[in-house]
């Protein structure tokens, strides 16, 4: 039986007054799309750990891939706040669905847009924007996660091409992707980005099984065994870790908005449930202990909304720093995970079932607090910013 999605947005501080008509229209459109396309199927795909591949096309049609990139390069020509509210509504549905869009827009289209040659942009961006091509982003390696600078994937010069060897791990979309933006070192140890196509000999992308989190998003490896990559596939515009890190800034920004959606869905579910569920002859929401939880949740959500709106304003002015983005990712993901845990308890036994979305959000958020820089790593980025001392090493 198709689920009725009774989700209602919460806006305690009238934040909507800070949003423009485009933002509100974009948010409502994606919310309607999620109610129509995601809610009715997500629990089933999640339970079977299957990626709803048909949604790649739907995400393209609604305009969720690279909404803040220019229209001529397959984007939506919108601003960063529009990008944020779109991610928020997608993640309100499911973090895995949001991940499908984040990777395509921020980690595949963005580096090609920012660092690609005109030929690369023309060849790939419109097709990525329309969902005709699906992409993935390969940075993390089996032995280098939080410390990607140590990566061992490397390539050697061979005339018009380079020969690539190495492996990437935990790569969202990789088993279904047509192209990969992969990062590897040249003979001098300098990191470069390159576009790999799935049928290049020596290139494979096996799926990783057994994930208990982000189950509706497909994750895999990238294996490079003497892959011959034409030099014209190397991104000419960037050298060194600045390349992948700038992409991560884009994606982390989207996550900071996205998880507010997951938190809102958990809060809304707990609020509705606790007003309807009667124990000791009164709605559960009438007990002080439960009200404390609800009050705490909506306060934290409201703080995150204000915080993230300010970050969006800075991003629109091209002034958002990596440390500011880290702080928003750090705060908001943690906030969402705490709300998921607290709201789940408010549903008692029902809270552990897939009748309600909270447990799924909670499990998803365990990935979200790990990828794109773990919670610890963001702590250290903020720490380095305020002390000037690098605590990574």
């Amino acid at each position: 039986m198709a689920k009725v999605d009774r989700y209602q947005h919460h806006d305690f501080y009238n934040m909507d007054a800070l949003l423009s008509e485009d933002h509100l229209l974009a948010r409502d459109a994606v919310r309607d799309w999620v109610k129509q396309e995601v809610t009715p199927i997500i629990e089933d795909y999640y339970e079977r750990a299957e990626c709803p591949k048909h949604l790649y096309k739907g995400l393209a049609e609604i305009g969720a891939y690279g909404p803040s990139l220019p229209v001529e390069y397959g984007g939506g020509g919108m601003d960063e706040i529009a990008y944020g509210v779109i991610m928020q509504e997608l993640e309100r549905g499911d973090s895995g669905i949001r991940s499908m869009a984040s990777v395509q827009g921020s980690l595949v289209m963005y580096p090609i847009f920012a660092y690609g040659s005109e030929e690369q942009k023309k060849k790939y961006l419109p097709k990525l924007g329309s969902g005709e091509l699906i992409g993935c982003f390969g940075l993390t390696e089996p032995d280098f996660g939080s410390n990607p600078t140590g990566m061992v994937s490397h390539f050697i010069d061979d005339g018009d091409s380079v020969i690539l060897n190495g492996a990437k791990m935990w790569i969202t979309n990789s088993p279904v992707a047509d192209i990969a933006v992969a990062w590897a070192k040249d003979e001098e140890g300098v990191v470069h980005g390159m576009i790999l196509e799935k049928d290049m000999p020596g290139f494979s992308a096996p799926e990783i099984h057994g994930k208990l989190s982000l189950r509706a998003s497909i994750t895999g490896e990238l294996v490079f065994e003497n892959v011959r990559v034409p030099k014209k596939n190397i991104l000419p515009g960037v050298k060194g870790m600045r390349g992948p890190l700038s992409c991560l800034s884009k994606a982390r920004y989207g996550i900071a908005w996205g998880v507010i959606g997951a938190a809102l869905d958990c809060y809304d579910t707990a609020l509705q449930y606790s007003k309807e569920r009667v124990q000791f002859d009164r709605p559960v929401a009438g007990f002080q202990l439960q009200q404390r939880k609800l009050a705490h949740m909506i306060t934290e959500i409201t703080k995150a909304q204000l915080f993230t709106w300010r970050l969006g304003t800075l991003a629109n002015e091209h002034k958002a720093t990596p440390a500011q983005i880290s702080m928003a990712k750090f705060n908001n993901v943690n906030m969402a995970l705490e709300i998921a845990r607290e709201s789940r308890q408010m549903l008692g036994g029902m809270g552990i079932t897939n009748e309600y979305p909270i447990m799924r959000h909670m499990m998803n958020l365990e990935t979200v607090i790990t990828y794109e820089g773990t919670h610890d790593i963001h702590t250290l980025i903020i720490g380095m910013e305020v002390t000037g001392i690098n605590a990574f090493k």
Binding site: D22, D28, D32, Q36, G76, M78
Partner: protein, 246 residues
């Protein structure tokens, strides 16, 4: 084929409804409004489909203040070509119909669509009044509409079945569920809507024909009483003494 779609706003369907203590006004503080679903999902989308099949243009008209521009932008984002807003705050259906009628008289529309009703007051009066003002046929509550040989053929749901009616153009049609399927605007549409014309026109300012005297809420529903299926006597007693239905 040139089509005019009349669009209105309505409180979000989940908005709590409350009135001022004297019962004279609806409390609108913090209330969110949406484009009336009958206008958006059925009237506008069927109009766009007809344009896609037969060419022409789809215009939307809204009678209301600038604060409602967002619902007009939404209609443009879904695909309408051009919008008109009559700048006044109408007090009854007659005021709305008079403005739309006066506007439509000056333009040659083949079909004027409205929703079956606006969800808030559910008056369903505007389309009939517009048709009368223009002296054209009116088909109400259409669930299905086809354009054939210069005529419009509609199906209407009636008690226990359907009736089929046809009328020549120009005409007014009010759209009911089933006439089309909701189209969610995409980001490109939202951005394009910013560049489409939203023309503001001065109102005729006719006087309303009705005055609102007050609102009253229905009595609160009381809880359900469960009676053991073995205890028929108690059920009969309650139906007789408390519910007073037997």
């Amino acid at each position: 084929m040139n089509i005019l779609v009349c669009i209105s706003k309505t409180p979000e369907t989940t908005a709590p409804i409350d009135f001022t203590p004297d019962g004279k006004e609806l409390k609108t503080e913090g209330m969110n409004y949406i484009l009336n679903p009958y206008d958006e999902w059925y009237a506008l989308v069927r109009a766009l489909e007809l344009k896609e099949q037969n060419g022409g243009a789809v215009h939307v008209i809204h009678v209301g203040p600038a604060a409602n521009d967002i619902i007009i932008r939404k209609a443009l984002a879904i695909g309408a070509d051009e919008a008109y807003r009559v700048d006044c705050d109408p007090k009854d259906a007659w005021m709305v119909a008079s403005e739309v009628g006066a506007f439509a008289k000056e333009h040659a529309y083949d079909i004027i669509f409205t929703g079956k009703e606006t969800l808030d007051y559910a008056g369903a009066l505007v389309p009939g009044m517009i048709a009368e003002l223009l002296g054209v046929p009116f088909i109400s509550f259409a669930n299905h509409l086809e354009y054939e040989n210069g005529k419009i053929i509609c199906q209407r749901e009636i008690e226990g079945g359907y009736e089929e009616v046809e009328a020549p153009m120009p005409l007014v049609v009010s759209a009911a569920k089933g006439l089309a399927e909701q189209r969610i605007p995409n980001m490109r549409g939202i951005m394009m809507a910013k560049r489409k014309p939203l023309n503001v026109i001065e109102p005729q300012c006719v006087s309303p024909k009705q005055t609102l005297t007050g609102y009253e809420k229905p009595p609160q529903r009381t809880g359900v009483k469960l009676i053991d299926p073995e205890n028929m006597d108690e059920l009969v007693r309650l139906l007789h003494e408390e519910a007073k239905v037997i």
